[in-house]
Protein backbone atom coordinates (compact mmCIF):
# COMPACT_ATOMS: atom_id res chain seq x y z
CA UNK A 1 0.00 0.00 0.00
CA UNK A 2 2.92 2.35 0.52
CA UNK A 3 6.17 2.94 -1.32
CA UNK A 4 9.26 3.43 0.77
CA UNK A 5 12.05 2.33 -1.56
CA UNK A 6 12.74 4.27 -4.74
CA UNK A 7 11.14 2.35 -7.58
CA UNK A 8 13.36 0.98 -10.26
CA UNK A 9 14.64 3.82 -12.35
CA UNK A 10 17.74 4.94 -10.55
CA UNK A 11 18.99 6.09 -13.95
CA UNK A 12 16.20 8.62 -14.11
CA UNK A 13 17.20 12.07 -13.26
CA UNK A 14 16.89 15.73 -13.97
CA UNK A 15 18.61 18.47 -12.10
CA UNK A 16 16.10 19.77 -9.58
CA UNK A 17 16.42 23.36 -10.80
CA UNK A 18 15.98 22.19 -14.36
CA UNK A 19 12.81 20.37 -13.28
CA UNK A 20 11.58 23.57 -11.60
CA UNK A 21 12.24 25.52 -14.77
CA UNK A 22 10.51 22.97 -16.99
CA UNK A 23 7.49 22.25 -14.85
CA UNK A 24 4.15 23.68 -15.85
CA UNK A 25 0.51 22.77 -15.65
CA UNK A 26 -0.90 20.92 -18.66
CA UNK A 27 -4.51 20.70 -19.71
CA UNK A 28 -4.02 18.80 -22.97
CA UNK A 29 -2.61 15.29 -22.76
CA UNK A 30 -1.85 12.61 -25.31
CA UNK A 31 -4.27 9.70 -25.36
CA UNK A 32 -1.57 7.25 -24.36
CA UNK A 33 -2.03 5.68 -20.93
CA UNK A 34 0.59 6.20 -18.23
CA UNK A 35 2.79 3.17 -17.46
CA UNK A 36 2.25 1.55 -14.09
CA UNK A 37 5.99 1.90 -13.42
CA UNK A 38 5.80 5.66 -13.94
CA UNK A 39 2.76 5.91 -11.68
CA UNK A 40 4.77 4.08 -9.04
CA UNK A 41 7.58 6.61 -9.44
CA UNK A 42 5.08 9.41 -8.94
CA UNK A 43 3.75 7.68 -5.83
CA UNK A 44 7.30 7.55 -4.56
CA UNK A 45 7.79 11.27 -5.26
CA UNK A 46 4.55 12.20 -3.48
CA UNK A 47 5.55 9.96 -0.57
CA UNK A 48 8.94 11.66 -0.24
CA UNK A 49 7.43 15.10 0.26
CA UNK A 50 7.70 16.32 3.86
CA UNK A 51 5.04 14.82 6.08
CA UNK A 52 4.06 16.11 9.53
CA UNK A 53 3.25 12.66 10.92
CA UNK A 54 2.70 9.22 9.43
CA UNK A 55 -0.83 8.13 8.63
CA UNK A 56 -2.16 11.51 7.55
CA UNK A 57 -1.42 11.45 3.82
CA UNK A 58 -3.38 9.12 1.56
CA UNK A 59 -2.92 8.82 -2.17
CA UNK A 60 -5.61 7.38 -4.43
CA UNK A 61 -4.14 6.43 -7.82
CA UNK A 62 -6.93 6.43 -10.37
CA UNK A 63 -6.53 4.72 -13.74
CA UNK A 64 -10.04 3.28 -14.19
CA UNK A 65 -11.29 5.31 -17.15
CA UNK A 66 -14.86 5.18 -15.85
CA UNK A 67 -13.77 7.00 -12.71
CA UNK A 68 -11.56 9.47 -14.58
CA UNK A 69 -14.57 10.29 -16.76
CA UNK A 70 -16.73 10.73 -13.67
CA UNK A 71 -14.20 13.20 -12.27
CA UNK A 72 -14.32 15.15 -15.52
CA UNK A 73 -18.09 15.32 -15.25
CA UNK A 74 -18.41 16.20 -11.57
CA UNK A 75 -15.32 18.34 -10.89
CA UNK A 76 -15.66 21.69 -12.67
CA UNK A 77 -11.94 22.52 -12.52
CA UNK A 78 -10.90 19.22 -14.12
CA UNK A 79 -10.82 20.70 -17.60
CA UNK A 80 -8.31 18.35 -19.15
CA UNK A 81 -8.21 14.96 -20.86
CA UNK A 82 -5.67 13.25 -18.61
CA UNK A 83 -5.93 9.45 -18.61
CA UNK A 84 -5.00 9.13 -14.92
CA UNK A 85 -4.95 11.10 -11.72
CA UNK A 86 -3.65 10.95 -8.20
CA UNK A 87 -5.95 12.22 -5.47
CA UNK A 88 -3.93 13.51 -2.52
CA UNK A 89 -6.04 13.20 0.61
CA UNK A 90 -5.66 13.80 4.35
CA UNK A 91 -6.94 11.82 7.31
CA UNK A 92 -8.42 14.62 9.42
CA UNK A 93 -8.98 12.46 12.50
CA UNK A 94 -5.44 11.20 12.49
CA UNK A 95 -4.12 14.73 11.91
CA UNK A 96 -6.07 16.01 14.90
CA UNK A 97 -5.01 13.13 17.13
CA UNK A 98 -1.37 13.61 16.21
CA UNK A 99 -1.02 17.37 15.93
CA UNK A 100 -4.20 18.85 17.37
CA UNK A 101 -6.42 21.38 15.72
CA UNK A 102 -3.49 22.93 13.82
CA UNK A 103 -2.75 19.49 12.51
CA UNK A 104 -6.23 19.28 11.10
CA UNK A 105 -6.38 22.80 9.73
CA UNK A 106 -2.78 23.63 8.83
CA UNK A 107 -0.55 20.56 8.63
CA UNK A 108 -2.92 18.73 6.27
CA UNK A 109 -2.87 21.60 3.78
CA UNK A 110 0.91 21.99 3.87
CA UNK A 111 1.40 18.25 3.71
CA UNK A 112 -0.80 17.76 0.66
CA UNK A 113 0.60 20.87 -1.03
CA UNK A 114 4.11 19.51 -0.60
CA UNK A 115 3.06 16.14 -2.07
CA UNK A 116 1.49 17.85 -5.07
CA UNK A 117 4.59 20.03 -5.48
CA UNK A 118 6.82 16.98 -5.58
CA UNK A 119 4.55 15.43 -8.19
CA UNK A 120 4.87 18.48 -10.40
CA UNK A 121 8.68 18.29 -10.15
CA UNK A 122 8.87 14.54 -10.74
CA UNK A 123 6.69 14.73 -13.85
CA UNK A 124 9.23 16.44 -16.16
CA UNK A 125 11.90 13.94 -15.08
CA UNK A 126 9.61 11.15 -16.31
CA UNK A 127 8.46 12.97 -19.45
CA UNK A 128 5.02 13.15 -17.96
CA UNK A 129 2.62 16.08 -17.69
CA UNK A 130 0.48 16.99 -14.70
CA UNK A 131 -2.08 19.56 -13.60
CA UNK A 132 -3.06 20.31 -10.02
CA UNK A 133 -6.83 20.72 -9.70
CA UNK A 134 -8.66 22.05 -6.65
CA UNK A 135 -11.84 23.51 -8.16
CA UNK A 136 -14.41 21.00 -7.05
CA UNK A 137 -16.63 20.31 -4.06
CA UNK A 138 -15.20 17.91 -1.47
CA UNK A 139 -18.38 15.91 -1.03
CA UNK A 140 -18.52 15.13 -4.75
CA UNK A 141 -14.96 13.79 -4.77
CA UNK A 142 -15.63 11.79 -1.59
CA UNK A 143 -18.67 10.22 -3.26
CA UNK A 144 -16.74 9.31 -6.43
CA UNK A 145 -13.85 7.55 -4.67
CA UNK A 146 -15.78 6.24 -1.68
CA UNK A 147 -13.73 8.29 0.79
CA UNK A 148 -14.92 8.11 4.40
CA UNK A 149 -16.05 11.43 5.92
CA UNK A 150 -12.78 11.92 7.82
CA UNK A 151 -10.66 11.58 4.66
CA UNK A 152 -10.56 14.98 2.99
CA UNK A 153 -9.58 15.14 -0.67
CA UNK A 154 -7.06 18.00 -0.92
CA UNK A 155 -5.90 18.11 -4.52
CA UNK A 156 -6.42 16.04 -7.64
CA UNK A 157 -3.30 15.81 -9.77
CA UNK A 158 -4.15 14.97 -13.38
CA UNK A 159 -1.43 12.78 -14.92
CA UNK A 160 -0.69 11.91 -18.52
CA UNK A 161 1.84 12.15 -21.31
CA UNK A 162 2.32 15.59 -22.81
CA UNK A 163 1.24 16.37 -26.37
CA UNK A 164 4.06 17.33 -28.76
CA UNK A 165 3.44 21.09 -28.89
CA UNK A 166 1.33 22.08 -25.91
CA UNK A 167 -0.22 25.57 -25.95
CA UNK A 168 2.00 28.06 -24.22
CA UNK A 169 1.86 27.98 -20.45
CA UNK A 170 0.63 30.81 -18.29
CA UNK A 171 2.93 33.69 -17.63
CA UNK A 172 4.87 32.75 -14.53
CA UNK A 173 3.28 33.80 -11.28
CA UNK A 174 5.93 35.29 -9.01
CA UNK A 175 5.92 35.62 -5.23
CA UNK A 176 6.32 39.02 -3.59
CA UNK A 177 9.61 38.93 -1.73
CA UNK A 178 10.51 41.02 1.34
CA UNK A 179 13.76 41.47 3.24
CA UNK A 180 13.66 41.15 7.03
CA UNK A 181 10.40 43.09 7.51
CA UNK A 182 7.23 43.00 5.50
CA UNK A 183 7.21 45.71 2.86
CA UNK A 184 10.97 46.10 2.77
CA UNK A 185 12.08 45.13 -0.73
CA UNK A 186 14.77 42.55 -1.10
CA UNK A 187 17.61 43.63 -3.37
CA UNK A 188 18.78 41.02 -5.82
CA UNK A 189 22.46 40.19 -5.30
CA UNK A 190 24.58 41.53 -8.14
Amino acid sequence: MSSTAPPDGSQLGLDVFEAMRKRRMHRMFSEEPVDEADLERLVYAAGRAPLARPGIRHLVVVTDQRLVRTVRQACPGFINNAPALIAVCSDLERAEQEVGIRGREVATRLDSGAAAGYLTLAAPALDLAVCMVTSWTEEAVQAIFGLPAHIRPEVLVAVGKPIPNPPRGMRRFHPIVHQDRFGQPREQPA
Binding site: A74, C75, I79, W136
Partner: protein, 116 residues
Protein backbone atom coordinates in the same frame (compact mmCIF):
# COMPACT_ATOMS: atom_id res chain seq x y z
CA UNK B 1 -29.51 -0.11 -16.41
CA UNK B 2 -28.45 0.80 -19.90
CA UNK B 3 -28.80 4.22 -21.45
CA UNK B 4 -28.59 5.45 -24.98
CA UNK B 5 -25.60 7.61 -25.89
CA UNK B 6 -27.91 10.63 -26.00
CA UNK B 7 -29.14 9.89 -22.47
CA UNK B 8 -25.55 9.52 -21.28
CA UNK B 9 -24.56 12.88 -22.76
CA UNK B 10 -27.61 14.52 -21.22
CA UNK B 11 -26.74 13.09 -17.81
CA UNK B 12 -23.13 14.29 -18.09
CA UNK B 13 -24.11 17.83 -18.97
CA UNK B 14 -26.70 18.03 -16.21
CA UNK B 15 -24.16 16.66 -13.70
CA UNK B 16 -21.54 19.19 -14.81
CA UNK B 17 -24.06 22.03 -14.44
CA UNK B 18 -25.09 20.87 -10.98
CA UNK B 19 -21.43 20.59 -9.92
CA UNK B 20 -20.80 24.11 -11.17
CA UNK B 21 -23.94 25.42 -9.47
CA UNK B 22 -22.57 24.23 -6.13
CA UNK B 23 -19.00 25.34 -6.73
CA UNK B 24 -19.87 28.85 -7.88
CA UNK B 25 -21.16 29.60 -4.37
CA UNK B 26 -17.54 29.28 -3.19
CA UNK B 27 -15.78 30.95 -6.09
CA UNK B 28 -15.46 34.52 -7.39
CA UNK B 29 -17.99 35.42 -10.12
CA UNK B 30 -15.49 35.27 -12.99
CA UNK B 31 -15.03 31.57 -12.29
CA UNK B 32 -18.79 31.15 -12.64
CA UNK B 33 -18.40 32.72 -16.05
CA UNK B 34 -15.68 30.20 -16.97
CA UNK B 35 -17.91 27.36 -15.77
CA UNK B 36 -20.76 28.58 -17.97
CA UNK B 37 -18.70 28.88 -21.15
CA UNK B 38 -17.14 25.49 -20.39
CA UNK B 39 -20.69 24.08 -20.10
CA UNK B 40 -21.68 25.69 -23.41
CA UNK B 41 -18.63 24.12 -25.06
CA UNK B 42 -19.37 20.69 -23.57
CA UNK B 43 -22.99 20.96 -24.69
CA UNK B 44 -21.94 21.57 -28.30
CA UNK B 45 -19.45 18.67 -28.11
CA UNK B 46 -22.11 16.37 -26.69
CA UNK B 47 -24.71 17.42 -29.25
CA UNK B 48 -22.27 16.71 -32.09
CA UNK B 49 -22.12 13.10 -30.90
CA UNK B 50 -25.87 12.63 -31.01
CA UNK B 51 -27.23 11.12 -34.15
CA UNK B 52 -29.87 13.18 -35.87
CA UNK B 53 -28.87 16.42 -34.16
CA UNK B 54 -27.20 18.89 -36.45
CA UNK B 55 -24.57 21.12 -34.92
CA UNK B 56 -24.13 23.96 -37.37
CA UNK B 57 -20.92 25.82 -38.21
CA UNK B 58 -21.85 28.79 -36.09
CA UNK B 59 -22.00 26.66 -32.95
CA UNK B 60 -18.84 24.77 -33.87
CA UNK B 61 -16.99 28.03 -34.31
CA UNK B 62 -18.38 29.31 -31.04
CA UNK B 63 -17.07 26.21 -29.34
CA UNK B 64 -13.68 26.66 -30.99
CA UNK B 65 -13.51 30.24 -29.78
CA UNK B 66 -14.36 29.14 -26.22
CA UNK B 67 -11.68 26.45 -26.21
CA UNK B 68 -9.07 28.91 -27.48
CA UNK B 69 -9.90 31.76 -25.15
CA UNK B 70 -11.50 30.50 -21.94
CA UNK B 71 -8.33 30.25 -19.86
CA UNK B 72 -7.51 33.90 -20.38
CA UNK B 73 -9.60 34.55 -17.30
CA UNK B 74 -6.74 33.25 -15.16
CA UNK B 75 -4.23 35.94 -16.08
CA UNK B 76 -6.09 38.49 -18.20
CA UNK B 77 -9.57 39.16 -16.84
CA UNK B 78 -9.97 42.25 -19.02
CA UNK B 79 -9.01 40.42 -22.22
CA UNK B 80 -11.30 37.56 -21.25
CA UNK B 81 -14.19 39.96 -20.66
CA UNK B 82 -13.76 41.69 -23.98
CA UNK B 83 -13.46 38.37 -25.83
CA UNK B 84 -16.66 37.17 -24.12
CA UNK B 85 -18.47 40.42 -24.94
CA UNK B 86 -17.48 39.87 -28.58
CA UNK B 87 -18.70 36.28 -28.51
CA UNK B 88 -22.00 37.32 -26.98
CA UNK B 89 -22.39 40.07 -29.60
CA UNK B 90 -21.89 37.54 -32.38
CA UNK B 91 -24.44 35.22 -30.80
CA UNK B 92 -26.97 38.02 -30.33
CA UNK B 93 -26.57 39.14 -33.96
CA UNK B 94 -26.90 35.53 -35.11
CA UNK B 95 -30.04 35.12 -33.00
CA UNK B 96 -31.52 38.22 -34.59
CA UNK B 97 -30.67 36.87 -38.06
CA UNK B 98 -32.25 33.52 -37.25
CA UNK B 99 -35.35 35.01 -35.68
CA UNK B 100 -35.94 37.78 -38.17
CA UNK B 101 -34.91 35.90 -41.26
CA UNK B 102 -33.89 37.99 -44.26
CA UNK B 103 -35.09 41.29 -42.83
CA UNK B 104 -32.31 41.22 -40.22
CA UNK B 105 -29.84 41.88 -43.01
CA UNK B 106 -31.54 45.19 -43.81
CA UNK B 107 -30.47 48.26 -41.89
CA UNK B 108 -32.98 49.40 -39.33
CA UNK B 109 -35.26 52.06 -40.79
CA UNK B 110 -35.02 55.42 -39.05
CA UNK B 111 -37.91 56.09 -36.71
CA UNK B 112 -40.81 57.68 -38.56
CA UNK B 113 -41.68 61.28 -37.80
CA UNK B 114 -43.76 61.21 -34.75
CA UNK B 115 -45.20 64.00 -32.68
CA UNK B 116 -43.12 64.70 -29.56
Amino acid sequence: MSHTPAEDRLFEIVLYLVSCARLTIDEPPIYGSLRLVESASRLVTAAAEIEGLDVDDFLREGRGSIEREKLRMIEDAEGYTSWLTGLLTEFAAEAARRNLGESAAEPLSPPSDSPD
